[in-house]
Symmetry: C2
């Protein structure tokens, strides 16, 4: 069954995963990190699929990062044993953390305050099971975490270590790198991430505290880091699929994007230059991540059914179940003739957000001789 046959038979909208592109993306980052001598701890918040995770994780069950306890529970059940839950822990969630620990999962939590540290230490003592912890460091002012030189870093380390938890190290994420563009700017962000994490690790060690793990990462910095001395692991998530936001800052090209939404033309407003499709924001998500980039891609870039970009054609606006395709403003082209019933594929702004709108991936297999596959996704918390 060829890709064309698979795509012709699917209902629309459907979420299409080009496995060949995904495997190429995985190989690219692994190669780069091998050169730098650092381990990869993929972030599974993007794929949210056991079948996809088998391809993404080293050895099929290697170290992983997650963004929800639901992800931790699903992947632990599927055999993943080393998981970092990379969102600040709420004390009310510690019972679920302890249940995962008791089930044999090495689950690490993240925090940046003395009150959280006291709660984790107390829960560890109560359970007789030292919960592993990374202290969150702020490397670029975009979200959570302590400045690397904040004395609270060692104070929290002490609360954890003396209180019965396991201080395992530090973690940072250069979320602001998504707003940078080009190799040099992204390399600078990577170096800032490295310095923040390594600086905090040195402060802990200087205070006589352990810090075996120094964890950094985001898809842009992971690809453009030039030196990761002192770092023990790199996290990245969206690199598996890539998307238009990543293409917009130069981390990939549109040809690397492994996800697309299959859609059908359902109408025209020819005098306005509009082609309507059955993929609105419910399919694409409301993510407008390219809105402030050099090229605004609307709700997505339009390709033909074989995945070739149709020049200057984007989903310019969207309602719940209607996408409105139009030429990019300023384009000198004329609108192509795409009759009702024509099938198109739309590249997403943000792979994490678009994939989350679907229950699973319709997989175009890397091996053209293989059968098409469906990989279920999950969601929730």
């Amino acid at each position: 069954m060829t890709s064309a046959d698979i795509l012709a038979a699917l209902p629309t909208p459907s979420l299409i995963l080009d496995e060949g592109r995904m495997l190429r993306n995985l190989a690219r980052l692994r190669r780069h990190l091998d050169t730098l001598g650092v381990a990869l701890r993929p972030h599974l918040k993007t794929v949210k699929s056991v079948e996809a995770a088998k391809r993404v994780l080293t050895g099929g069950n290697g170290p992983a990062t997650v963004s929800t306890l639901k992800e931790a529970e699903v992947f632990a059940e599927a055999g993943v044993r080393d998981i970092l839950y990379a969102v600040g822990i709420a004390p009310q969630k510690l019972d679920r953390v302890l249940a995962l620990c008791a089930a044999g999962c090495d689950l690490t939590v993240v925090l940046d305050s003395a009150e959280q540290a006291a709660a984790v230490a107390e829960a560890s003592r109560r359970a007789g099971d030292a919960i592993p912890v990374l202290i969150e460091i702020d490397s670029d002012g975009h979200r959570s975490g302590l400045r690397p030189d904040d004395p609270a870093v060692t104070a929290i380390g002490r609360i954890l270590q003396d209180g019965g938890a396991e201080l395992r190290g530090v973690v940072t994420h250069a979320g602001e790198s998504y707003g940078a563009a080009g190799a040099d700017a992204l390399a600078a962000f990577a170096e800032r991430e490295r310095q923040a994490a390594v600086g905090a690790a040195e402060a802990l060690r200087a205070a006589g505290l352990p810090c075996p793990v120094v964890s950094v990462g985001s898809t842009p910095t992971a690809h453009f880091a030039r030196d990761l001395s002192g770092v023990t692991e790199v996290r990245a998530g969206v690199f598996v699929f890539f998307d238009l936001v990543m293409a917009g800052i130069g981390v990939c090209t549109p040809d690397d994007i492994a996800l697309s939404v299959l859609a059908t033309v359902i109408g025209h407003q020819r005098d306005r230059g509009w082609i309507m499709v059955d993929a609105g924001w419910m399919a694409m998500s409301r993510d407008r991540g390219t809105a402030n980039q050099a090229v605004d891609q609307g709700y997505g870039v339009v390709c033909d059914i074989d995945g070739r970009v149709l020049d200057d054609l984007i989903v310019a606006s969207a309602n719940q179940e209607h996408g409105v395709i139009a030429l990019r403003p300023g384009s000198g082209r004329s609108l192509p003739e795409l009759p009702v019933g024509t099938r198109l594929r739309i590249l997403p702004n943000h792979a994490c957000a678009t994939a989350a709108q679907f229950d699973g991936y319709e997989v175009l297999p890397a091996d053209a001789a293989a059968a098409p596959a469906y990989w279920p996704r999950f969601r929730g918390w």
Copy 2:
């Protein structure tokens, strides 16, 4: 069990539905349309829940509008027998339409081109079952549909009627009314909707074609219409829950909003004026529908656990699983003290988008003596 007890026991983030507010919203629109003497055909794309639909539909199974065939299939299975699928039909979807018709569901489709009309007529003949059709009319230039005076309206009517389908009438939706504000502006949109639909209906009848159904509606126009002469039914969806976009244009107040996301404080960046919660865009959705309104509500308005708005506090930005709460720009207030572990409720910009991020509603029952309920949602196409 009090609401406070229910809310204290739930995991976060959770989607909270205040049934009392919902019932009040339903009663308000029914009362208004009763005064105008027009039937309501609620749009179930907002609730996507059989349990919720039982409260929303007249008699529990009365006429309904849907935005996907999946919705039509689920609600037909649950006993709803009169359904309008209000998104332009793709020829490839006609087999599913015919299957629903064959199962006894009176399913009406929508179209605005001769090519779609020919496909529906052909499918009707093939099945020996006349598919009911409404011709889509464009009343405000926002999306699909034909101008009411376009000769294509009667030409399409003729293709349907002569070809073996059932021409049932016309349908329009004033999507641009979401950008208006205030009673007079919204009443003007409602009148434009009415005139467009009634004008197209008159053109069909003047050509000797039937037009028993004249369907109009959107939540803003449904509430502010002053005269619906010639209209047979009104559609509205988001009125069931309301949201900040509707409050921003004066259709409701924040106290009417029946949906909220329960979240937990997970950290602080006090020098930046930030409070972090575990409801990011995965919970709130990426919808930023208030961004261009007079008051930008960020990713949502923050309330205490009892649902009382905390003045000037909004979710100013969001990552996948992090919401960043801050004071509205220009607020003279100081940030309230909300320690890690504090539970909050966040009102959404757009009820349809936020609800779609969850698998179901945690219901605070209207009858305080009733047990808490969970109403599952579905999704997909």
